[in-house]
Symmetry: C2
Subunit: 356 residues, 2 copies
């Protein structure tokens, strides 16, 4: 009898730890740069959490915390680095003050389309270069979606010549702001909540926000008649950041589950952003016939390109890592863009020819 | 003592079935329409299998069987329906002989770009319409990647007018073949292995294959000087098919894992196809300067569009389900295309203006 008991105990000792491991729950928090209501950008965090929960039978739970709660939309990198949050959903170019090379994992003026950037990330060495940049911050970076082409902004007056830019008061942040400043624009920063009133009252003459889906909700179409096509953010990637220690503490299965979910959600983000922008653009066209779609005139675009090259070459001269990544992306983009023109470009041209 | 033994047995009885479930292995087979070496199309099956294996710690194994082995590239729908294979990786328009409505989940002439089709699939009701079509075959359909814009084909002589198409002997299958036949082309079918020789010896005057990546390997650039841009397959979706009973027999966790992996692999497929086409196009341009890139002249394109509309309207008149899906896709495409032109189209135009 004693023998049997010992055998049973031995069996239990073998089985119980396996059980405990299988049932071990993981609870993570994910901070977003966006408020919970700022869709489509804010859709991806909750979708990721749902996928991971379903794939693990409720054993890996990610709680998404919006910017309205953690109050630090541009502090999420530090919070993931410090471990207060295991993850974040944000965009890489917000960290250009910490490391200018981070812009390449988001976008820059006259840079790549979403599809071209994905090609560089996954097949052109981009993800490997991102790893070098982001490991310094103690985090893993993963491509985390894409907002699609952002629009050039809302203008009260038409831009006909370069002179029309001189002294223009415009809200446009980031590298595009640096470029516009070189063309004589008086670049200002204004809190999102005050943008509508500032444009309406003439405190500013123009502003850049995102694209049709998010611009429509802000109401700019009611007060600015000129809507310019994009040049400065042709395909901004979003990103998921993960604390390295937290990631490495996961089982290989959970690591694979998280990475696969991130890739699936990233694809969904591009599709959702594209759809919402298309539907919103249709609404603007239909319901606000006073809005004129414009592309900047060629001399203005040429000047923007020249200023962009100067700004980027300036950073490259000072920073070997920036130079290295810039050259990788430029060389790869050249090949991708030639194919974009032959494929997507010709399909669009051809369809227009036959009246589609 | 007896009490303790009973308690131990009770504990074992509770624990052992849970263990057994956790360790239950799933072994599936996936048949591909492509031969194992036909990359990038053939990359997705093995990538899916790897993701699923990693996410389940080796408990869900999918064995990928290429067409060179199962010998039925266009029999995979039947094989999944019949349960010989739990899954397939293929393209929906191969089933147009069984149900013409299946073309909408792949592509048709002057149809949607990959990004536009993804929008319809996930946010425009496309996946729900696909479910109605494919449940008749006892399978689930999932968007499974995209080859990107396919090229219009290789021609020995330039097509300058509609008359140049009359009597031309060309290998071009599917709806594009129907359209070309209406324009007087002598449409023939030739096995892939004989295409090069047929074109070289003048048995045919022209052929359509896929795009730069797969065309380059066939060697057509050595024997036909005119390479035409695409019009007939602007963004063909690939698909994963899953036997319904097999899917429903999986645990909810494994179902979620399989679906998430499919979505991630589909995104990867588009990116890999885009990259490989871009790199191959660069190679063709550089190493075969005798190849002339051409777009069909406007009157030819107009005639193609008219013939396409006639073919599709013909099917719609006979088949209410086809008509219903066609109308859904056309209405959605109109909005998506307007945005493609404003966003991607203007970025490409603008970049060309500034010499990028």
């Amino acid at each position: 009898m004693r023998k049997q008991i010992i055998l049973l105990f031995a069996a239990l000792l073998l089985i119980l730890p396996m059980q405990a491991q299988a049932a071990k729950k993981v609870h993570w928090k994910l901070a977003t740069t966006w408020s919970t209501t700022l869709k489509p950008l804010a859709s991806s965090g909750p979708k990721l959490a749902k996928m991971v929960e379903e794939m693990t039978g409720g054993n890996f739970i990610i709680r998404v915390v919006g910017a309205e709660k953690h109050k630090a939309p541009l502090g999420v990198l530090d919070m993931v680095k410090g471990g207060q949050y295991e993850m974040a959903h944000t965009a890489s170019y917000y960290w250009k003050g910490k490391d200018i090379s981070t812009i390449f994992f988001a976008t820059f003026p006259f840079g790549m389309l979403a599809e071209e950037l994905a090609a560089w990330n996954w097949y052109g060495g981009g993800n490997e270069l991102a790893e070098e940049v982001f490991k310094k911050f103690g985090v893993y970076h993963f491509p985390g979606g894409n907002s699609g082409v952002q629009m050039g902004g809302w203008f009260k007056k038409e831009i006909k010549t370069l002179d029309d830019l001189k002294g223009l008061k415009m809200r446009i942040p980031g590298l595009a702001g640096e470029v516009f400043a070189r063309l004589g624009v008086n670049v200002t920063n204004i809190a999102p909540g005050e943008l509508y009133t500032s444009l309406d009252r003439g405190t500013i003459d123009a502003l850049e926000w995102v694209g049709p889906a998010m611009d429509l909700k802000m109401g700019f179409q009611k007060i600015a008649p000129y809507y310019y096509t994009g040049w400065h953010e042709p395909g901004p990637d979003l990103e998921f950041l993960v604390n390295r220690k937290a990631m490495n503490s996961l089982s290989p299965e959970y690591q694979a589950i998280l990475k696969t979910a991130i890739r699936a959600v990233a694809a969904d983000s591009l599709t959702e952003n594209f759809t919402e922008n298309a539907l919103a653009w249709d609404k603007i066209k239909t319901e606000y016939p006073g809005v004129h779609l414009k592309t900047f005139p060629e001399p203005v675009l040429q000047a923007m390109k020249k200023a962009t090259d100067e700004v980027l070459d300036g950073y490259a001269a000072k920073d070997p890592e920036f130079k290295n990544i810039y050259e990788s992306q430029k060389a790869f983009m050249k090949k991708m863009r030639a194919w974009s023109n032959v494929s997507t470009g010709e399909v669009l041209n051809t369809a227009e020819l036959v009246g589609e």
